[in-house]
Each structure stands twice: as structure tokens, then as C-alpha cells.
């Protein structure tokens, strides 16, 4: 699967993710594809992660968990979330090809974050699908 995203789409994605998610005070939001390539990388400016390794591992992790789901007879899991002492990671699949990775502290409720993510995904889908219609 290949896709091309132009500058306008990327800017739109950045804006949507910033407005809807980063403003909640979360640490970072990374939009990647299922091969682990980084599409949009936003953070609060306070932490410097090796985002490329993180993305590759996130994609691999998601792939591994999806394989586990198949083994137990599930089509997929609706929640992939890792809880840390002070930081947590949530993975959300967007269409079949993309993954939204959110890193956030304990001051943000996961349930509420997921509500916001559901909203922002609608915008992300529209932006990405602009490519496919051309």
C-alpha cells in the first residue's frame, strides 16, 4: 500500500491533532502508518524521545497484538493501552493503515482521551481520504 500526503493534508492533520488532543495537556501524539513510518509527530516540547524507534516498535507491537487477537478468535481488540507509573501509551487504529499513538500522564483520564480521539479520528480520516479520491 502506498499513499502520498501533500503539505496541505499534513498541515491539516497537525492542526487537528494539536487542537483536539495536545491541548488536553498530553505529552505527545504520533500518527504513524502500520509499517512504522512517522507521519505527524507532536509533543509538548518537554521530552525528547527516539520517535523513530518508538514508531517502529509501536507498529510491531500493534501487529503482534493483532496476531494474538486472531489466535484467540477475535477480529481485533478495541483497546490497546499500556499503563506506566507516570506516563501511559494508548494506540488507536485509524482505517486499516494508520495508528495514532498517544502518550499521556495520569492527569488525563483514558476514557475522556478516547472520547476526544474518536472525535479527532473523524477529521483525520477525511484529511487522509483526500488523497485516495484524487
Amino acid at each position: 500500500m502506498s499513499y502520498i500526503l501533500d503539505q496541505e493534508q499534513l498541515d491539516g492533520l497537525e492542526e487537528a491533532l494539536t487542537t483536539d488532543l495536545m491541548t488536553l495537556g498530553i505529552q505527545s501524539v504520533i500518527l504513524i502508518d502500520m509499517a512504522g513510518n512517522v507521519i505527524v509527530n507532536l509533543d509538548d516540547g518537554k521530552v525528547r524521545h527516539d520517535v523513530y524507534s518508538l514508531a517502529a516498535l509501536a507498529a510491531g507491537n500493534f501487529g503482534a497484538v493483532s496476531a494474538m487477537a486472531s489466535i484467540i478468535g477475535e477480529e481485533e481488540f478495541s483497546l490497546l493501552f499500556h499503563k506506566g507509573k507516570s506516563e501511559n501509551i494508548n494506540f488507536t487504529k485509524i482505517m486499516d493503515d494508520f495508528l495514532l499513538v498517544s502518550i499521556f500522564g495520569n492527569d488525563v483520564s483514558l476514557g475522556y482521551l478516547r472520547l476526544k480521539i474518536d472525535e479527532v479520528i473523524k477529521k483525520v480520516k477525511v484529511l487522509i481520504e483526500q488523497t485516495r479520491s484524487t
Binding site: 500500500m1 502500520m34 509499517a35 512504522g36 527516539d50 523513530y52 524507534s53 517502529a56 516498535l57 507498529a59 510491531g60 507491537n61 501487529g63 503482534a64 496476531a67 493503515d97
Partner: protein, 201 residues
């Protein structure tokens, strides 16, 4: 990390197929799986991209049955070969007991073979493993391409590039056609298990 249960008399080892991207690691496992699937229960697990590039690993476990009262279990893994997946590759190498290095015989892949071997050495070092101490077998894959007029490195060159110091057993092969795939993995399993038994028992 090899596991020997002296009570239940089980030996379990982890073998990892390593090498440059698109070199034939997954093809090796797929061939092995096709040959043994009628006698094993588990399926082969592959975590890969839509473009069929290994994303995390391929995994094939099987039991060889009892040998001298020890039940021998083997787990074969491949790693993703692409450079950008190094963090993942390192993860899959954790606890490795033996290596099959699948080198790509195509002329323009010469540098990739060498950097993949260097990368392996580094990643093993991360786990305090010296590559010279680890059971290892080389496979010089894609030899079948010679018949299609594609320029291949000769075996002497590949030996010099990759095996000059390690002096490990090596096999020319075609994973796609299944040539020498089984002898490669048999040698690797045998070398690994014997070494483990020597070390642990």
C-alpha cells in the same frame, strides 16, 4: 535463552534468522514450515507489513521429540532486516541461542550483508553476547539467480567478507526453491542444542 528442565527433561532453544532486508529469512521459514506442517500443531506466525516486509518477526515453534530422554523444542524466529527496524530487531534477538545468517548473494547486496553482520554483532553485544561464542551458521542465499543471468558474488568472496574470522559452517542455498534450506536449519539446530547441553548439563 535456552531452557533446560532437568525434571521434565525438556530442552528448549531459540534460533534466529538474521540478515539484510529481502535476503530470504522469511522465505527460509516459510519453506521449513511447508515441509513440516503436516507433523506440527502450531501455525507459523508472521507479523509483517502489507508489503510483506517483516515488521516484527516470523515465528515457528516445533518439537523434535525425545532424544536420549530429552524432549527437544525449537523456536525459529526471523528478524526484520530493514535498517529502520533496528529497535525491533534487537528485541527479537533477546535470549537468542543460535543464529542462521542469511546472506544475499546478489552483487549489489554485498555491503548490506556486511553491515547486517556488523549490526548483529552490535546487537548481541548489547546483551553481553560475543558473536564468536554463539552457535552460528551462514547461508549464502539466492544462488538460483545465476541461472537467470543475475550477477552473484562468488562464494569465496562471501566467505572472505563474512566468515573469515568466525569460520562457521556455511551453505549455498536457494530458499525460494528450497535448496539447502533444511540442511542449513538442521546444522543450526544441532550446533545450538549440543552447545547448550555442553554448557548447562
Amino acid at each position: 535463552m535456552a531452557f533446560i528442565n532437568t525434571k521434565t527433561k525438556e530442552v528448549q532453544v531459540k534460533l534466529v534468522f538474521v540478515g539484510p532486508g529481502r535476503g530470504g529469512k522469511t522465505t527460509n521459514l516459510e519453506y521449513i514450515f511447508s515441509r513440516i506442517r503436516h507433523r506440527i500443531e502450531s501455525d507459523m506466525v508472521s507479523i509483517k507489513t502489507q508489503g510483506d516486509r517483516t515488521l516484527f518477526f516470523d515465528f515457528l515453534p516445533f518439537e523434535l521429540g525425545a532424544i536420549k530422554g530429552y524432549n527437544v523444542k525449537t523456536q525459529l524466529y526471523t528478524v526484520p532486516g530493514q535498517v529502520k527496524y533496528n529497535a525491533t530487531r534487537k528485541l527479537v534477538l533477546k535470549g537468542v541461542d543460535g543464529i542462521v545468517f542469511v546472506a544475499d548473494s546478489m552483487v549489489d547486496r554485498r555491503e548490506n550483508n556486511i553491515s547486517a553482520l556488523n549490526n548483529l554483532t552490535e546487537n548481541l553485544h548489547f546483551y553481553d553476547i560475543d558473536i564468536t561464542d554463539l552457535p552460528l551458521v551462514f547461508q549464502y542465499n539466492k544462488r538460483d539467480l545465476a541461472t537467470e543471468g543475475i550477477a552473484l558474488l562468488d562464494v569465496e568472496t562471501m566467505e572472505k567478507d563474512l566468515n573469515a574470522q568466525l569460520k562457521a559452517p556455511s551453505f549455498t542455498a536457494s530458499a525460494l526453491k528450497g535448496d539447502n534450506v533444511i540442511p542449513t536449519v538442521k546444522k543450526a539446530i544441532s550446533k545450538t542444542i549440543v552447545a547448550i547441553r555442553e554448557k548447562l548439563l
